[in-house]
Structures are given as C-alpha cells and as structure tokens.
C-alpha cells in the first residue's frame, strides 16, 4: 500500500466536506473539553477534601502553645496530658461515638503538607504550630451538636468543628457542576458521533464512483475504507488538540493567573493534574471518531 496515494485521497476527502469537517472538529473539541474539565473538577474536589474529610464527622481541636496567647478559648493555656486523657476516655464512653482517632501535631503537619504541598502558606508552618486533635466518627452523623455542647467550652479544647459543614455546600455545588458538565458532554458526544456518521455517509456517497471502481479492480475492503476512517480520525484528533489547548489555557488563565491570586485558602490543582489528562483526551479524540466511521461504513459503503 502506498502512503502517498492514501494521504492524497484523505486530504481530498477532508476538503470536499469542509463545513462538515469543521462541525466534527468543533463538536469533538467541545465535548472533550467538558470531559477533561469534569475530570479536573473531580481532582480539585479531592484535593480540597484533604486527609480526614471522608473519614470522620467531627474534629476536636486542642489548644497548643500559640493558641494559648492568641485564642480566647485557650486562655487557660495549652492542653495538658491529663486533659487529653480525660477527653479521650469521655469520648470513648459516649454511645453515639463510633471511633476516635488521635492526631498528633506531627501527624497534622504531615497531612497538611500532603494537601497543600509547597504552597507559600504551608512552607511557613512548623510542626509545633500545628494543633493536636481528636478525629471522631459518629454512628449518626447528624449528632454533631452533642459533641459540640459537651466539649467546646472545656479547658484545653480550642474548637469543635463539624467536618462537613465547612465545605459541604461548596462540594455540592462542584458536584452539581460536574454532573451538568458530564451531561452536556454526553449530549455533545452524541452530536459529534451523529455528525461523523453523517459525514461518512455524505463522503461515501460523493465518492461512490471511486469506491465502485476500487471494488471492481479488486481493492481490499480495508484499502477502500481506510481513507474514510483516517479522515474521521484526523478531524477528531484536531478537535482533541483544540480541547487540549482549551484545557491548558483554562489552567493558565483561569486558575494560575486569576483564581490563585484571589483565593489563597484553597489549594488549586497544578499542571501535573492537567497534563496527565491530555493523553487520554487525545486518545479518545482519535479512536472514538475512527470507530464511529468504521461502523457507519458498514452501513453506507458496500464493499
């Protein structure tokens, strides 16, 4: 098989259906951008959740030396070993408590580092600035108030927080957006596939003379179908390339140059998260249209 001959057939085919090719490229680009965006959004949510989010319901933060000076709840000084033991044994006696885990300042530091990496905020911290805490899993997550009223005004306790209340609304919003993006992606994908099927049908029809003659002189069906499949794959690949460009520029302009400057308490996804998605986007952009074309040909191109 001669590559040059096949390539010239492909370029003729792509140019003949220029408007349709554009439609395929744009719809593939949009659907894959949404796909990549929703993957990244999921990464973002799991980055924000941190170590304890899905594991516990309530956290009891204990006073450390810094808090003793700064925080009114800790005016009686840092927590003592006796106070810790008392809180722990009381927690363990409460029937609504499922499990209790103790997190030392060093562990807290480690988990913090894992979540925030080498952001400027994290690098200024030292382990002894971190708080010790009890991480509690409840049998009934709604019973946060019981723990809160029992421990929040106790000496040595800085704060009792409901793990969910803080970020739950945000995560619900992000999840909702994620589902919406996936739904939209699904629709765009259906549009893209139907466009590809239609493009193949039109180009099979407009080239029925050539394909008929190819059949007569004994060209293999692979040889006859290849230009059509390659056309769809190339259009898809261009669309996927466009999607990659949109994702990268989204990360660059929206996240790195805008959100990061304005919201510094949230740890945003970095380049590694974006770049690892690109090969997947490209592969889908290449294979999906090729497969769609292959199945469309079985229907519209007699070989």
């Amino acid at each position: 098989m001669r590559a040059q001959f096949v390539l010239s057939e492909i370029s003729v085919g792509l140019r003949r259906n220029l408007t349709m090719t554009f439609a395929v490229i744009i719809s593939v680009a949009l659907s894959l951008t949404l796909f990549g965006g929703s993957l990244l959004m999921r990464d973002q949510v799991s980055t924000m959740k941190g170590y304890w989010y899905d594991k516990v319901n309530v956290s009891v933060f204990l006073c450390n030396k810094n808090d003793a000076e700064a925080d009114p709840n800790c005016s009686r000084g840092a927590v003592t070993p006796d106070q810790k033991g008392e809180i722990l044994s009381e927690l363990k006696r409460m029937p609504i408590v499922d499990t209790v885990q103790y997190e030392s300042a060093d562990q807290a530091y480690k988990h913090y580092k894992e979540q925030f990496g080498d952001s400027p905020l994290a690098s200024s911290l030292t382990p002894d600035q971190m708080q010790e805490s009890f991480r509690i899993k409840l049998k009934d997550p709604q019973k946060f108030e019981v723990i809160s009223s029992a421990f929040s005004s106790r000496p040595g306790v800085q704060e009792v927080t409901d793990q969910k209340s803080l970020l739950e609304n945000l995560f619900n919003l992000l999840n909702g957006m994620n589902i919406a993006a996936l739904g939209l992606m699904g629709l765009m994908l259906v549009v893209a596939l139907m466009l590809i099927v239609n493009t193949v049908r039109v180009s099979a029809f407009s080239r029925r003379r050539e394909t008929g003659i190819m059949r007569l002189v004994g060209a293999s069906s692979f040889y006859i179908q290849m230009p059509f499949i390659m056309e769809a794959a190339i259009a898809g690949l261009i669309g996927a390339g466009l999607a990659c460009f949109l994702l990268v520029s989204g990360q660059y302009f929206l996240v790195n140059n805008w959100l990061v400057d304005r919201i510094d308490v949230i740890n945003f996804i970095g380049w590694d998260a974006v770049l690892t998605k690109l090969p997947l986007v490209l592969a889908i952009g290449l294979l999906m249209p090729a497969l769609a074309a292959f199945f469309a040909l079985r229907k519209y191109l007699k070989v």
């Binding site: 003379r209 007569l216 004994g218 060209a219």
Partner: protein
C-alpha cells in the same frame, strides 16, 4: 473457467426468480455473447460472476473457485483476476487517462515503478498511445471505452466481463471496440460480453448464450443474435 450448475437467483422482493436453473460451462479462451431482452437475467448472470450477488440455489464456479464458499475477504483477490467493462465507461472524470488506468494498479498496491512502465504499454495496446495526459471528458465515447478496457486489462486478467460495452457507441466505433476485444481474446483471455447489438453478434459469429425470463433458451456456437428484436 466458468461453470454454472443448476443456478437460480431470486431477489427478496420479486416473485419471479431472475435466473432459473441455469447450467452451462465456458472454457478457457472462449468468446461468449450473452443476449436476451431487458429483464431476461443477463445482469444477474454477470453479477453472479463478479460475486456481487450469491446464487440462491446451485453452484457458480469462476476461475476454479466455488463462489459460494469464497469468504468475503477473499473476494477482492478473486476480482483482481477479472477485468470488467461497462456501458457507461466508469472512468474518474477528475483523473487523466493515465491516472485512471494507474488507479487500478494503485489500489491493489503495485509498486510505482512497475505502474509507470505498464500504463503506457497498455494504452498503446488499446490504440491510445501518447494520450496518457488527456482528461476523459476530452475524449470521444469510443476512446473513453478504450481507456476503460485498458484499465480492465492492465492486470492481465484471465477473464474479461463486458456489460454492453458498445451500448453508448455508434456502429462504426463499436466495430473498433469489438476488434479490440477480439484481440484481447486472442491473447488467451476469456471474454463474456452481454449485448443488445444484433449487428455485432451476427458479424462476429461467436458462441451465443440466450436468456429469456431467467431461463437458458439457447446455447449455440458460432451463433447469431436471434430472429426477432
């Protein structure tokens, strides 16, 4: 070369079969006219030879192969050993004469050097030497049919199938085309030609097979076209 054993062909939506119980044999190097009025089954006969259709009953052997048992992916290989010529020429209008002939070699993956050598030879053979660069639209009907024959013959097929090759041509041009087909036949290629052209059949005096309503009604060596029409 070709053998039909009790071949019938019916199409799904038609009550009357297109071919009914046809048995015949065509040997190597023969020249055969296939005659009969429209709807007599000539086209179906040719489509069976090309394996565009499969027989409903009976067996079709072409070039020693049972076409019913030939798997789909082997069909292209079988077709490379056949040449086909049609009434409407079936040339690619946006390719030159030379490219049209070369196309048949390109799609089966022949190396370019051999294509460059073969194409002018074949064009010489059909009497179009030096016209490689012309477009089909610039040629007369007879010349276009010569291009089509060149394309059919460029692979040196064992069997040439022609479906009314002179149907669009005036009598004088037709004679030229028939002389060309006769010459190809003399190189040892079997020729099966469906035609309505009474003059040609009567002049050439070759074997004539006549179909009527799907049945084989006459098989005559050195025959004539028929009595009516």
């Amino acid at each position: 070369m070709i053998r039909f054993d009790n071949v019938s062909k019916s199409y799904p939506k038609q009550t009357r079969p297109a071919l009914r119980d046809v048995s015949l044999e065509i040997g190597k190097g023969e020249f055969v006219f296939l005659v009969g009025s429209s709807g007599s089954g000539k086209s179906t006969f040719l489509r069976l030879l090309l394996r565009e259709e499969r027989a409903s009953h009976g067996q079709v052997h072409v070039l020693g192969k049972d076409l019913a048992r030939l798997s789909n992916w082997k069909v292209p290989h079988m077709r490379r050993q056949l040449g086909t010529v049609f009434q409407d020429f079936r040339l690619l209008p946006n390719k030159t004469v030379g490219e049209n002939v070369a196309f048949a070699l390109e799609v089966i993956g022949k190396p370019r050097a051999s294509i460059r050598k073969t194409v002018p030879e074949v064009l010489d053979l059909v009497g179009l030497g030096g016209k490689d660069g012309r477009m089909p639209g610039e040629l007369s009907g007879g010349e276009q049919q010569r291009v089509a024959i060149a394309r059919a013959f460029v692979n040196r097929p064992m069997l040439l199938i022609a479906d009314e090759p002179t149907g669009n041509l005036d009598p004088q041009t037709s004679v030229g085309i028939m002389k060309l087909l006769d010459r190809i036949n003399r190189t040892g290629t079997t020729v099966v030609m469906a035609t309505h052209d009474q003059q040609i059949v009567d002049q050439m005096r070759k074997r004539v097979i006549e179909l009527e309503k799907g049945r084989l009604v006459r098989d005559q060596s050195r025959g004539v076209y028929g009595y009516q029409h």
